[in-house]
Symmetry: C2
Subunit: 106 residues, 2 copies
């Protein structure tokens, strides 16, 4: 789908985190991710081939880089650039509302 709405079409129940590709073109991919209380598995670290620019648009989350002792507390509007292979994990997301992320992989 080329046009759409980031805050609509969210299922009432979210047993799993949802990732949807909104656009793919060449080496660029734009994804919407919706979490609700989800977090990375214990001791799991993302170690991605691509760079990721991500903004949190709704909800709240704790994003931790392996090199840092504490997670970054993300609230709506905050964006972070995650270079390829910068190991990171989602420590927590809000359990009381959906957390909507927009990620640009490049």
């Amino acid at each position: 789908m080329k046009n759409g709405h980031l805050f609509q079409h969210i299922p009432a129940e979210l047993p799993e985190e949802i990732s949807e590709s909104l656009l793919t073109a060449g080496n660029v991919r734009i994804e919407r991710i919706v979490s609700k209380g989800h977090r990375s598995a214990s001791d799991f670290w993302y170690d991605q081939q691509q760079n990721e620019w991500v903004v949190l648009l709704k909800g709240e989350a704790g994003l931790r880089f392996e090199q840092d002792e504490l997670p970054i507390h993300l609230t709506p509007g905050m964006y972070v650039n995650i270079p390829a292979h910068a190991r990171h994990r989602v420590e927590w997301t809000s359990a009381s509302e959906e957390t909507v992320w927009l990620a640009v992989f490049y």
Copy 2:
């Protein structure tokens, strides 16, 4: 700046629309655009070399493609993909609050 906040650091007065590059890498550029009552000049049409994926995150705007009779009324969360050379213009943006756009050129 690699990390930041889309809804902060907005000047109190916006005599001109503001476009800031948040990230540039290869053929990808991510921009924040802040408008307040701004619109494209009469009879001006954007005709861009690059594709643009744009989402409105705050405020309201009317985005018109030349091929369409009426603008699309964008409210927060709505995104539109604008292929290269798809002629378009901003017919209006809210005069009462800032309109914040996030654009990914690719």
